[in-house]
Amino acid sequence: MDAISVAKTLHPLEVRILLAYEPGSEIDGEILRSQLHFREGQENQTFSWLLAKGLIEEQGRTQSLFFELTALGREYADKGIPERRIFNFISKKGAARLPELAQELGLDQKTVGSAFGILSKEGALGMNEEKKASLLPGAVFPERMEKLGALIARALAADGILEEACLDAESLELVKSVAKKRGAQDAPFRVAERERVVYRLSQATAEQRQILKSLGVTGEELGALTPAMLESGAWKKGSFRPYNIGVTPARTIPGRKNPYVEFLESVKDKLVSLGFEEFDGNMVETEFWNSDALFMPQFHSARDIHDVYSIEKPSMAKFIEEPHLSKVAAAHENGGDTGSRGWNYHFDRDFTRRLILRSQGTVLSARQLPTAKVPGKYFGIVRCFRYDKVDATHLSDFYQTEGIVLGEDVNLRTLLGFLEMFAVEVAGAKEVKYVPGYFPFTEPSVEVHIKHPVLGWFELGGSGIFRPEVTKSLGIDVPVLAWGLGIDRMALMALGLNDLRELFSPDLESVRLRRALQ
């Protein structure tokens, strides 16, 4: 950093030092407190800033003792030292037993004992034949104790501190005799050590002084803008101290949408913009709507007990809506009026009422058919449930994106047209490839593979034209395109994840720090 930039980052406290002292001057905390009125603590912080900038260097350090009044010491300052109080008591009220003194003066017996010891040693008190402490003839209060009282008073006046350097030999000996380093709560003084560090202003401060003067910085610039400044207009009389904008800002924890939900919403918005209307439905469904209405035969291997979750209680729907039940059953058994041969087996009208967790979004498409508009376009992004072992690529519940298009317009080529639209608009694909697919409920069926800018080639989805066994049984006479998109891989990529379980992570911090869509 050049000198001017350094000057701009100086704190007002630093500025005041640089302007007050010539290069080469020696300063220490005491000097700053007394001459520049720094508050306790400010000097050390300022020294560390100046050191970091190379504007001062350490010159030397000296150790000194100081004595700090303890809580007991302050009590003595207030009420007098125990010796003084005992002496006064006996002077006024006559001889007394030590426990009596302790009680009367609110002192503990140990303190009274040792104070009596000192006073008798000094020839002020003695113990008479009644075992009472009494004044000896001609006794005066000992001078040495008088001095101790004075030192306590002096310490109180000096913020509770007596510096070693400020005491004469006698006072020092006296204070040391009643001061303790540890366990000082039963002594009037605590002894502590202080280090005095002397710094010298480096030659670089000459240039800084120069720059500060030329910039007109005084160290008296305004800090935070306060309501009071605005009310009084005081801000007009000064200038604002510039802040260091290089400092890392503090963290804000905002309210936020979940990035995965945001991704799903963005896909919904895309589909709405393409003219699709959203549908939704029950998580608990019947075998009828989940599979039978989609012309999947009841003996189909994908309908085994271990392929869908069934509900314990209630286990059956009360009924299946007519005429759908009869028409679907006929389509399965012999094709009914759908132009099909049917699957040629006995359709189980009890099994079809069995309650399960919907295993595919196509359920909603089937459910929508009887009331759908023609032409009509519908979609849903809904939770589906699969009998899968949960791992990085399988979840027991997850979202499927599915939809239908109804209209005379629907044929294989417009189906490809829709797939192209999804590939480009929803997935941002650059290249699209179509291959024949297979789904039990569509004919013809097409899979769409796309070349994604990041993921490369992958299968974006499947689609097809609903078999007439599906549509005619539900009262629809126009062709219906059914499609499904696999968007989870794109979601993982958009969120920088590689494990499907992470999409539903309960960990707050990882969700908070997850970026939204790029």
Partner: protein
């Protein structure tokens, strides 16, 4: 979707040419197949296999080396192979071999088809391939052997005719494959690996099926296991007797047809077997196999053009249909086909139209932009949910999203609620996914239990589905959209969460009242029900410390849940 492994040299021999991976990948869509993996040159040339995934579960003929090669070959050349050994349904033919079915199997496994194949010595690759085909056909198409199972034998050591009859599982016994001791049928089901695997098919039956030769020696115990004496086929065998039994005659017959065509393609001569029944079957009482039973299918050129969105001549459509293996002709403006012997997947004219599409190739159909105009819109619930979300985000809440399936511990025990109030799955995969949630709160509390290191305050919410019992519903269970919210920090309390609930409802434009609630998930006296026109739509309050303790949470939490469906109506 079945995956098969084909022997590379056998496959190319049957295909009639060799190909590299790129050109094979390019033609596999003609069979709705995908290249999965290919052994590299470090594997011995005769051992090298290609792994292929087949997507069409209605085309079991493609699940073998010969069948896949045939489809690709016919698609390219347009030449339909001839299998003269097929006997049309209803026609009789004098056969060397006969199987006599007894009335006693009618209830348990009524149908049988079979044929004899004579030809080159069976190679290791052919035997492997045949066993794989057998597995795929019986597992996927035959529903784990329930509706179709297959047995292979050496016809020369069998005393003909063969008999298919019922047996008492506790009385009859034989030595099964992979065993040396004589076992009763019951013992086989209990102790033999195949018995344990497939025993479920027969366990409730009083009479079990048994296939025996004329000397009453057991050939096999369908659909479980062959006998070790007469039911073993080895590399080098030249003759095979193949039988298929099952519960559904078209599937049984088609399986025999597929196997016969595969063997014919590999150079075997196929000889017919007559099956005689004492009862009526869909194919009659005396049926000769391999048999051609598939009805014709037809599609009009106009409906074809309409469904495919493309102009084409009837002749073009016919040629395309033929490239998928069927025999074709034109009748007026209709394309009529006799399905290939090994196919039975034409239920509706649309199936033929898809064959026409496949025969022409998807690349002949350029995508076309749809013309119909429709108005897109989000559902009213999505609109409402997004409004609610905006309020929560504005109040500093982080949105979360959770799985809806969970375990008893989180959904019930830790919440301290009645087990009967949560929808239970009767066939769970694991204890961790046994219930369908009835509230978003367990998810939110789950977050608190794992996020104590995340800087506080925590304010989280989720808008998602829950399932509630509701007798008025046809299903007895209703799906509802709930908003759940939770604030967790040292000062989190009733007042804060009440204030947030008030703010949310204010901006959703709802006038509400509160009423004291008694919900054990919250602290008594510090919880309130939200009422909209007197109807309860939600609850909020301070989460009960017993719940927090159960979740291992040591920070106060306050929050609630609101039924958005009730707000919408």
């Amino acid at each position: 979707m079945p995956k098969i492994e084909v022997n590379e040299s056998l496959f190319f021999k049957l295909l009639g040419k060799k190909m590299d991976a790129a050109s094979l990948e390019a033609i596999l869509p003609n069979a709705k197949a995908e290249l999965d993996a290919w052994d590299d040159s470090s594997t011995d040339i005769d051992e090298r296999t290609i792994k292929i995934e087949l997507n069409d579960t209605n085309r079991p003929d493609l699940w073998s080396t010969a069948g896949l090669a045939r489809q690709l070959r016919v698609r390219e050349t347009g030449e339909v192979p001839s299998y003269p050994f097929f006997v049309p349904l209803g026609e009789s033919r004098k056969t060397t071999y006969t199987v006599i079915v007894d009335e006693s199997v009618r209830k348990v496994r009524p149908y049988l088809a079979g044929f004899v194949a004579r030809g080159p010595a069976i190679s290791d690759a052919m035997l492997k391939d045949f066993i794989q085909t057998q597995e795929k056909l019986t597992w996927n198409y035959g529903r784990k052997r329930r509706s179709v199972s297959i047995g292979l034998y050496r016809p020369s050591i069998i005393a003909w005719p063969v008999h298919f009859r019922g047996a008492d599982p506790d009385k009859e016994s034989f030595v099964p494959l992979q065993e040396t001791r004589n076992m009763t049928l019951r013992q086989i089901l209990a102790e033999h690996p195949k018995g344990k695997e497939y025993g479920f098919i027969l366990q409730d039956e009083a009479v079990h099926p048994l296939l025996l030769d004329d000397k009453d020696r057991v050939l096999s115990y369908p659909p479980i296991i062959n006998s070790a004496d007469l039911g073993a086929v080895l590399v080098g065998d030249q003759d095979l007797f193949i039988e298929v039994t099952g519960t559904e005659y078209p599937s049984v017959s088609l399986t025999a047809s597929i196997l016969a065509c595969d063997l014919a393609d590999m150079g075997f001569n196929i000889e017919n077997v007559e099956v005689q029944y004492p009862y009526d079957t869909p194919f009659g009482r005396r049926v000769v196999f391999p048999g051609y039973f598939q009805p014709e299918m037809s599609a009009g050129i106009e409906e074809t053009k309409k469904l495919l969105g493309m102009d084409m001549s009837t002749e073009e459509a016919r040629q395309a249909a033929q490239r998928m293996g069927s025999r074709t002709r034109i009748e007026g403006d209709r394309i009529v086909i006799k399905p290939a012997e090994y196919r039975n997947d034409f239920l509706h004219p649309v199936d033929l139209i898809e064959d026409i599409l496949m025969g022409m190739g998807m690349d002949k159909f350029p995508p076309e932009k749809p013309h119909d105009f429709t108005i897109g819109r989000l559902s009213p619930m999505e609109e409402l949910s997004r409004k609610a979300k905006l309020s929560f985000v504005g109040m500093g809440y982080q949105e979360m999203i959770y799985n809806y399936l969970g375990g008893r511990r989180e959904y019930i025990d830790k919440m301290g609620i009645e087990p009967g109030s949560v929808v239970k799955i009767s066939n769970p995969m694991s204890e961790s996914f046994e219930y369908l949630r009835n509230s978003p709160l367990p998810g939110l509390l789950g977050t608190e239990s794992v996020s104590s290191k995340a800087p506080y305050p925590h304010r989280i919410f989720e808008i998602g589905k829950v399932a509630l019992f509701d007798e008025a519903e046809n299903y007895g269970i209703a799906t509802r959209q709930y908003a759940g919210f939770l604030s967790s920090h040292a000062q989190a309390d009733y007042n804060e969460t009440a204030s947030h609930a008030a703010t949310l409802l204010f901006y959703l434009g709802k006038e509400y009242a509160v009423r004291e609630a008694q919900d054990c998930r919250f602290i008594p006296g510090r919880q309130a029900e939200l009422l909209l026109a007197g109807k309860r739509v939600g609850i909020f309050g301070e989460i009960h410390p017993a719940v927090l303790e159960a979740f291992g949470i040591t920070m106060p939490c306050a929050g609630g849940e609101i039924d958005l469906d009730l707000l919408l109506n």
